[in-house]
Amino acid sequence: MAFAISRPCGDFKTSYGADETIFATKTSLIFCVGGIGLLCLAPLVVGAYWLNLLIQIGYLGIAALGLNVLVGFTGQISIGHAAFFGFGAFASAYLSNRFAIPVFLAIPLAGIATTAVGLVFGVPATRLKGLYLAIATLAAQFILDDFFGRAAWFTGGVAGTSAKSLSIFGHEVIGDRQYFYVVLAYVLLAYLAVTNLMRTRDGRALVAIRDHYLSAEMMGVNLTKYRTLSFGIAAFFAGIGGALYAHYLGFVSIEGFNILFSIQFLAMVIIGGLGSISGTLMGTAFMVLLPELIEALAKALAGSPIDKALSLKEGIAFLKEMTIGAAIVLFLIFEPDGLAHRWRQIRAYWKLYPFSY
C-alpha cells in the first residue's frame, strides 16, 4: 500500500514476486543505491561533528526501527525502549569484557540477550492492550533501571563499565570514520531485514493484529505468539543499537537510559511516521538534528539585535527547549501522520504535476 503512489499507471504485475518487490520502480532503486553510495563517501567529506551526528542517527535509527515494528506495525505501545537500549549496551560490554568474546560477535549476541529480556517483558503484552500495556512497559523501564543500579557485576554499578573497541578480522576499528562504515552496515542490514519481514507472512500477521486483532485471531493468527514476537524484535534491534552505542563511546554508564530517552525514541517513531520504515530514519534524523539546529540558531541569535531588543540573554537556553517542544507539537498538529507521509505527498505532487490531486 505504501508503494502504490509511486507505481506508474498501467503497470500490471504478473507474479507475486513482482508484486512484493521492495522498490516499485527502477528509479527508486537507483536513488536508494545512489544514496547509500553517497553515504559511503560521507566520511571522506564531512567533518567530525557531522560524522558523529550521522553515527548517532545510525544507532538510534536501528533502535527506533525496532520500536516502529512494535508500535507502528503491531499497534502496541512501549515506553520502556531506553531500558532495552541500555541493556544491549551493558550486555555487549559485559560479554566482550568478561568472556573475551570479540566485539564483532558480542554485538549480535547482545542483541539476542536483549531479545530474551524483551520476550520476558512482552509476556504482559499478551493480556494487556493499549495504554495498560504502555504503563506495563513503563514499569519495565523502572524495574530495569533499578536492576542496572543494583547489578554491579553486570553494569559496573557506580563506576560504569568500559567497552572495548571493535575489531574486524584483526583490523581494529579506530576513529569515527571507520566506525561509520560499521554502523552503516548494521543500518542497512537492519532496515533490509525489517522491510523483508514486512513482506513475509509474519509481517502481515503483525499488521493484521494492529488493524483488527479480533479478525486476525479468527483467521488463525496466534495473537500471543505474534505480540510476544513483536516485543522480541523490538528488543533485538534496541540491543544492537545499544551495543553499537557502547562501543562507540567506549564507556557505558547508567546515566542516560531513563524515561526521557524512551520518550525520545517514541518521538522518533511517531514523527517519522508509524508503520513506515523509511520514516523511522527520517524521524530519527529529525530528533537528532533538531536540538543541534536550535543550538546553532541560538548561537546565531545570541548577541544579535533581536537578542538585545527582547533582552533574551539567559532566556535563550530556555527558548531552545521550548522550541524543541513547540516543534514537536506543531509538527504533529500539521502532519500527524509523520514525515513519511509528508514525503510521500511531496513525491506524489511532483509525480502527478500538474494534476496535484
Partner: protein, 428 residues
C-alpha cells in the same frame, strides 16, 4: 495548496542552509576551549551558578589579556544533561580544543574514554572518586589521566564528615557506638561515596545501618524519615542533589527526627537553605573553597571583579558553586600558561602543567581557592576538607541577598579535616 508546498520547501531550504554553519569558528589566534553546561536541564539549579562562574572567569581572563597574549576562545554548549548532545558537542571540538570545562556525571562519564584517547584535559564538576586514578591500578580499575577536578572527591568529602562525626560524638559525650546511615538514590552520583564512607565509618567505630533510599526528585519522604527515626541513627549522609534533600529535610523536620545530617557539595547550598528554611538548620556539608562570598579574604577582590563580568552592579550574591567554578577555570588558565611556555599549548602539555606545582593556589585567589596538588599517580587534588554548618534561624522569605545580609541564612565553618593521602583510598 501549491503555495503551501512551495512555502514549506522554502522554509525547509532556509533551515537546512543553517546546517552548513560550522560549530566552532576556529580562530587562528585564540586558544580554543570547550565548555559544557546545564542551564536548562534537570541539574540547572546548580549548573546555572557554576556555568556562570566558568563563563565569567573566562571573560575575566580575556579581559586581562588572555593567556600569553592570546585570548581564550571558549564555546559554551548547554547540553541540558542529555548525553547525545554532549557527545555531538565534543565531536565538534575534538582535534580543535586544548581543554574542556565539563559539568556533571552524565557528560563526564560519557566522554571519559574519548578524552583519554584524544588527550584533552577535562575539568569536570563531577567529583567522583573513580576519576582520580590516572594510572588505573586502584579500585577504580579505570585509568583517567586526563580527568581533573578542583575540590574534594565525593568520597573524600564523605570521609571527612565521618571523621568529624566521630570527633563530634566524643566531644558531645556520646556513649557507645554512634550509628551512621547513608541516604540517597540508587544512582551513580549518590552511590559514589557510599562504599568509601561506610567502610571508613566502620573503621572509626560507627555502627553502619542499612542504607535508606530516596529518589532524586522531590516527593513525600515521610516513610524514610520515620524509619530513620526508628533506627536511632545519629549521623545520616544525604547523597542526593538539593531538590530531593529539601524534601527529606522538611519531611524529617515534621516527623521530629533528631539526626545530624551530613550533606554533599551539590546537595546543600545557600539556595537550598533558603527553600528548606529551618529544616536545613544544622546540616553539615563540605565546601570547595576556603571562604564564602561574604567573607573577607585577600583573594575575594578578584572574585568580585570576575562577578562584575556578568553583574555590573556588583550586588549579586554568588553561591559556593560560583566560587568553585572560578577556581577551576583559573587552575586551567595557569596550566595553559605553563604549557605555552614549555612546549606549546597542547592537551598533553596542559596535563603535565597540572603536576608542576604542589599546594597550588592560583595567583590572586589566596584565601579563597584552597591549595591543591595533582600528581601523575594521584589526581586527588584536595584532601583537606572544610566543613561548614548551615544556620537558618527563622523564616526565609525574601530574596537571597537580603537574607544573607541580615543573617537569617548563615554558613559557618566548623572544622577543617585533613585526610591522609592513603594509597588504598585512591579511586573509590
Amino acid at each position: 495548496m501549491c503555495n503551501r508546498r512551495s512555502k514549506q520547501a522554502m522554509v525547509l531550504g532556509a533551515l537546512f542552509s543553517f546546517l552548513t554553519l560550522p560549530p566552532l569558528t576556529a580562530g587562528a589566534q585564540g586558544i580554543p576551549v570547550g565548555h559544557l553546561t546545564d542551564y536548562s536541564g534537570p541539574t540547572s539549579d546548580v549548573g546555572g551558578p557554576y556555568g556562570q562562574g566558568v563563563a565569567d572567569a573566562l571573560a575575566y581572563i580575556n579581559q586581562r589579556g588572555g593567556v600569553s597574549g592570546k585570548k581564550i576562545e571558549a564555546e559554551t554548549v548547554d547540553y541540558s544533561y542529555q548525553v547525545p548532545r554532549a557527545l555531538a558537542a565534543y565531536k565538534g571540538w575534538a582535534g580543535k580544543v586544548v581543554a574542556i570545562q565539563g559539568w556533571g556525571t552524565a557528560d563526564t562519564e560519557a566522554l571519559v574514554a574519548l578524552v583519554t584517547k584524544d588527550q584533552i584535559p577535562y575539568f569536570s564538576a563531577s567529583y567522583a572518586a573513580t576519576l582520580t586514578d590516572p594510572v588505573g591500578d586502584s579500585k577504580a580499575q579505570k585509568a583517567t589521566p586526563y580527568n581533573f577536578f578542583y575540590g574534594p572527591s565525593y568520597s573524600d568529602g564523605a570521609r571527612a564528615m565521618v571523621k568529624w562525626a566521630a570527633d563530634d560524638w566524643k566531644k558531645n559525650g556520646g556513649a557507645g557506638k554512634p550509628k551512621y546511615v547513608h541516604m540517597g538514590a540508587n544512582h551513580p552520583y549518590p552511590n559514589s561515596p557510599k562504599a568509601a564512607a561506610e567502610e571508613y565509618a566502620k573503621e572509626l567505630g560507627f555502627e553502619v545501618l542499612p542504607a535508606i533510599q530516596y529518589a532524586l526528585a522531590p516527593g513525600d519522604y515521610t516513610a524514610q524519615c520515620l524509619t530513620l527515626k526508628q533506627s536511632g541513627a545519629n549521623y545520616a549522609y544525604l547523597g542526593n542533589t538539593a531538590g530531593s534533600n529539601i524534601s527529606v529535610l522538611k519531611a524529617c523536620e515534621t516527623a521530629g527526627v533528631k539526626v545530624q545530617f551530613l550533606g554533599n557539595v551539590w546537595g546543600m547550598d545557600e539556595n537550598a537553605m533558603r527553600t528548606a528554611g529551618t529544616a536545613a538548620n544544622g546540616v553539615v556539608f563540605p565546601l570547595r573553597t576556603a571562604t564564602i562570598w561574604t567573607d573577607a579574604a585577600p583573594g575575594m577582590s578578584l572574585f568580585r571583579d570576575v562577578s562584575k563580568m556578568s553583574d555590573a552592579s556588583g550586588k549579586a550574591y554568588r553561591p559556593s558553586h560560583y566560587l568553585a567554578a572560578v577556581c577551576t577555570t583559573l587552575y586551567m588558565k595557569e596550566a595553559i600558561d605553563w604549557a605555552a611556555a614549555n612546549g606549546g599549548v597542547t592537551g598533553e602539555n596542559i596535563r603535565k602543567a597540572m603536576y608542576v606545582k604542589g599546594n597550588w593556589v592560583p595567583k590572586g585567589t589566596e584565601g579563597v581557592c584552597k591549595p591543591s596538588t595533582w600528581s601523575a599517580q594521584d589526581h586527588r587534588g584536595m584532601l583537606e576538607v572544610d566543613l561548614y554548618r548551615a544556620e537558618v534561624k527563622g523564616p526565609t522569605e525574601g530574596n537571597l541577598t537580603d537574607l544573607i545580609a541580615n543573617g537569617a541564612i548563615k554558613m559557618s565553618k566548623i572544622a577543617t579535616v585533613d585526610l591522609p593521602r592513603k594509597k588504598e583510598w585512591l579511586g573509590w
